[in-house]
């Protein structure tokens, strides 16, 4: 199939305004009749549902949590980028566009990224108008900080809880539309099938998670905003409920899955402590503004108290290898460097899988500055330390507290121990410029699509993309499809397609419940996670990937013969929910390995051991792999079909990504 990205004509800076001026509109009297379903209530879904409601559409929004305010966007810590140039440090839409394309290792679509950079400024305005309490300077104006991979300060933040505050903003806008009767909210509901009639999306089948009731919901279009699939690794920084089920249902109905192998491993997470571990906790990238990453130079020092190791015996390896960006290199680079040091045997901590993140220099620097502003002459070392710790506390207090609670160590006095962990997935459903998938009437927004981050996402860009898609892009672009639907009556949910879809959902649930095997859902999930982490994780090779595909196939077979799901279909049954999700993760895991095996290059988060430069850095192959790999479902047990969208770069020159 030929993939048409529907990129508008004209110079890159004018594409979006041209598009908006020419896109078809739906008149207010028709909007009232047109129904749109939104799956997910995070930044992308919540913002989209609220905005579609404001525009006058009749919206139904679904989330599996007990309230839309709890979607996993809430856990984002560090910040949101916007090309406001409030710091007068040379920022612009072009520079944000450039940084994002370069940061993504030249594997994203230029037109989409430029639009993202353009609307980034509107997001900040919108959020401030909603009452989002961003950090401010004493003059009352907004504050900024720096994030990895860029040399300007363009990140807006609300302490270490930026995601929470932005989501509460979107949730408040959504709540207003719920009160106005424009959005009907379905909490504790999970989408379990997409319904198509005559080749067009016409609704979904959802399960009421409290009663177990299977419900039919018709619509003129469906918007997926169901988040990322990091939990395929079992251990990740994602919430326990984050899943790929909506995406996989769409994939099986003909939506292409793009670049599934692009996964982001975040460099600064609290290391694994034991087998029982259920999730990993992120320590925001913003910490790398002030924290310095190091390991001991000598193996003899590995088990020493880090405070006893003198300056000259420490290897600040990021500053040494990447002097231009130092501790603020992009995530993929920082993660690989940490893995490299630990693989060399220089890792610290109980398991040897950790490096230090040290704030002592920052504490001293801030302490001296504070002493100076408070007119303290010749401050003592102790005074400086006290003042410096206060500054650090005001910036990162909640993160330091969280670290101490989990590890029982005080990071103000002892350097943090950190190790990379799965955090975000750049891959997702293939979408065109309008965020439409390959299935007519089905849209994908936020992390669940593939579009903007290429092979690696820069810090503070996920919140930006989620809100850009939800507030500013999708509500405009979906009009071009819905304008053609104004004559379509309300969907009849007694149509045979709904009957059949409902039956297949019920059959699948009964199948899971009736296996009555010996292993729990978590047993399978943990095994899948281990295969993925070892063979499709931070570094990959052809042999490992081939083995992984076979192992996952065997594990899937065992799952469908030996899983034990307690309880019944018509009650609140969390194990049943998990079983359905793990079944989809098993299918996705194989697809990810296939994609990783196909991509014979190293790009961003996808690092193939066979393809690296003599210095060990990632080696792209622009001649053969400057394309989006969009996988098409070919049927049960059949190999998926690879479709390619060639990426063309007119406004940015492809270069080797260097942070040295």
């Amino acid at each position: 199939m030929k993939l048409d990205a529907k990129i508008p004509e004209g110079p890159i800076a004018e594409k979006w305004s041209n598009y908006r001026s020419n896109v078809k509109l739906v008149a207010p009297n028709n909007k009232r009749r047109i129904e749109v379903i939104v799956i997910g209530s995070g930044l992308a879904g919540g913002a989209a549902a609220a905005t579609l409601g404001e525009l006058g559409y009749s919206v139904k929004c679904f989330c599996f949590q007990d309230s839309p305010r709890r979607a996993h966007s809430i856990a984002a810590q560090g910040g949101i980028n916007a090309a406001k140039n409030y710091q007068n440090d040379g920022d612009s839409a072009y520079r944000l566009f450039y940084d994002t394309v370069k940061g993504g290792d030249y594997r994203s679509r230029e037109a989409n990224v430029y639009r993202l950079a353009q609307v980034s400024t509107n997001i900040i305005d919108q959020c401030v108008a909603q009452g989002v309490p961003f950090a401010r300077e004493y003059g009352g104006l907004l504050a900024n900080r720096s994030f990895g991979g860029v040399q300007v300060s363009r990140t807006f933040y609300a302490r270490g809880q930026t995601g929470q505050q932005l989501l509460l903003g979107a949730y408040s806008a959504l709540s207003r539309q719920i009160a106005a009767g424009k959005v009907k909210m379905y909490n504790r509901h999970e989408m379990l099938e997409l319904v198509m009639i005559d080749g067009k999306t016409r609704g979904i089948i959802a399960r009421n998670l409290i009663t177990g009731e299977i419900e039919r919901h018709g619509a003129h279009a469906v918007v997926l905003a169901s988040g990322g699939y990091g939990n395929v690794f079992y251990l990740s920084t994602n919430a326990m409920g984050s899943n790929v089920t909506a995406n996989m249902k769409a994939y099986r109905k003909g939506a292409f899955f793009a670049n599934p192998c692009y996964t982001q491993i975040h460099p600064t997470c609290i290391p694994v402590s034991g087998h029982y571990q259920s999730k990993l906790t992120l320590m925001s990238e913003s910490l790398r503004n002030d924290g310095r990453v190091w390991v001991p130079k000598s193996k003899n020092d590995l088990s020493k108290n880090p405070n006893q190791i003198p300056e000259e015996d420490r290897d600040y390896y990021l500053e040494r290898i990447y002097p231009a960006f130092g501790n603020l290199v992009p995530r993929d680079v920082a993660s690989r460097a940490a893995k490299y040091m630990c693989d060399k045997g220089m890792g610290v901590g109980k398991t040897g899988l950790a490096v230090y993140l040290d704030f002592s220099s920052a504490i001293e620097r801030y302490g001296k500055a504070a002493a100076n502003t408070q007119n303290i002459d010749n401050p003592s070392k102790k005074e400086i330390e006290k003042l410096g710790k206060e500054v650090i506390e005001s910036k990162y207090g909640n993160l330091f507290e969280m670290y101490q609670r989990i590890t029982d160590e005080n990071p103000y006095d002892t350097p943090m121990k950190i190790y990379p962990a799965v955090h975000y997935t750049m891959g997702g459903l293939w979408v065109d410029y309008e965020l439409g998938t390959t299935v007519p009437g089905l849209y994908a927004t936020g992390e669940c699509n593939f579009s903007d981050h290429g092979a690696n996402r820069l810090g503070a860009s996920a919140l930006m993309q989620g809100l850009a898609d939800g507030y500013f892009v999708l509500p405009v672009t979906i009009g071009s499809y819905l304008a053609g639907e104004i004559r379509t009556p309300q969907t009849d949910t007694n149509h045979p397609a709904f009957v059949e879809a409902e039956k297949s959902v019920k059959d699948n649930i009964n199948k899971l419940l009736n296996i009555k095997g010996d292993k729990s859902v978590d047993d399978f999930h943990r095994e899948l996670g281990l295969i993925m982490w070892n063979k499709c994780g931070m570094s990959r090779n052809a042999q490992g990937l081939q083995e992984a595909i076979k192992e996952i196939q065997a594990l899937r077979k065992e799952f469908w013969n030996n899983v034990y799901v307690p309880g019944t279909a018509d009650e609140f049954n969390p194990e049943l929910e998990k079983a359905g999700r793990v079944a989809d993760f098993l299918d996705l895991g194989e697809l990810m390995c296939r994609d990783a095996l196909n991509r014979n290059e190293s790009a961003g988060g996808h690092f193939r051991e066979e393809y690296r430069t003599p210095e060990g850095e990632a080696q792209r192959d622009d001649e053969n792999y400057t394309y989006v790999a969009a996988w098409e479902y070919a049927g049960e047990g059949k190999e998926p079909i690879l479709n390619k969208e060639e990426l063309t770069f007119n406004d940015i020159e492809l270069k080797t990504r260097s942070y040295k």
Binding site: V128, L142, G163, S175, I178, A239, Y276, P475
Partner: protein, 252 residues
């Protein structure tokens, strides 16, 4: 370490429910409280018994989903900590731990430790927002906001909506939650145009949903995992009086 767990089991909202006793073994101090429950549940599944249903999602203390009363205290013994961030270091070998759901008429039990908190959503829908449609905003820096006010607004906005305040309150009052939201928006100039209407409507819904009134016990503040201060209830009362007496807005 070995523990004895006494856990509230209730099949559904119609069931009466009772405490059941479960011994657990092999618990380490590095585990989180929920990971300890995971260990129990895996054991129950191996024994083909019904695992304990509990709400949880992010497991990093921000989504507000987890909700357990542990030895009589919402979110357990550690100050300023959600259940998911509570670690087993807080307990010692041989301890008996009693685990119950939030108990409040406005939060009916769905199953075991899972309760229905949609009444909180309804309070927000009654006015916990600023009426600004997408695309209507002016440049963010055209409205400087006093840093102290912005910080106070943030402190209030940090509420995660978990409901521990209600579970802790002898009156099952939701006024700390309500006070936090009203304060957040009342402290910001953007919230000014709807200030009176907001507090009146939200208070009305709070009462309609069956939450009790505040009697200044302070248990809510003591148990709040995010340190939301009682000042917010004082501000809520001021805002309410200001709107009820000092404005033209109708008290419903």
């Amino acid at each position: 370490m070995k523990l004895t767990l006494k856990i509230w089991r209730q099949r559904n909202s119609n069931d009466k429910g009772k405490l059941e006793t479960y011994p657990v073994d092999g618990i380490t101090t590095d585990m989180s409280f929920l990971e300890m429950i995971d260990v129990l549940n895996q054991q129950l599944i191996k024994d083909k018994k019904d695992p304990v249903a509990f709400d949880h999602d992010c497991r990093e203390g921000i989504c507000g989903m987890c909700s357990m009363v542990i030895n009589g205290r919402p979110h357990g013994p550690w100050e300023g900590t959600t259940t998911c961030q509570l670690h087993m270091r807080a307990f010692k070998d041989g301890d008996t731990v009693v685990i119950e759901p939030w108990r409040a008429a406005s939060f009916p039990v769905i199953k075991d430790l899972v309760v229905d908190r949609t009444s909180f959503d309804k309070i927000i829908q009654a006015g916990g927002y600023i009426s600004v449609n997408t695309g209507n905003a002016v440049d963010a820096n055209s409205l400087p906001i006093d840093k102290t006010n912005a910080e106070d607004a943030f402190d209030a906005a940090a509420c995660i909506g978990c409901g521990a305040c209600v579970a802790a309150c002898p009156n099952s009052s939701g006024m700390l939650f309500l006070g936090a939201k009203v304060s957040h928006l009342a402290l910001l100039p953007q919230g000014e145009p709807e200030r009176e209407k907001r507090v009146l409507n939200m208070m009305k819904t709070h009462d309609d949903e069956g939450f009790g009134g505040c009697t200044n016990t302070g248990a809510c503040e003591a148990e709040c995992p995010k340190g939301i201060s009682l000042t917010n209830i004082a501000r809520l009362n001021r805002e309410y009086m200001r709107a009820a007496i000092g404005s033209e807005e109708e008290v419903r």
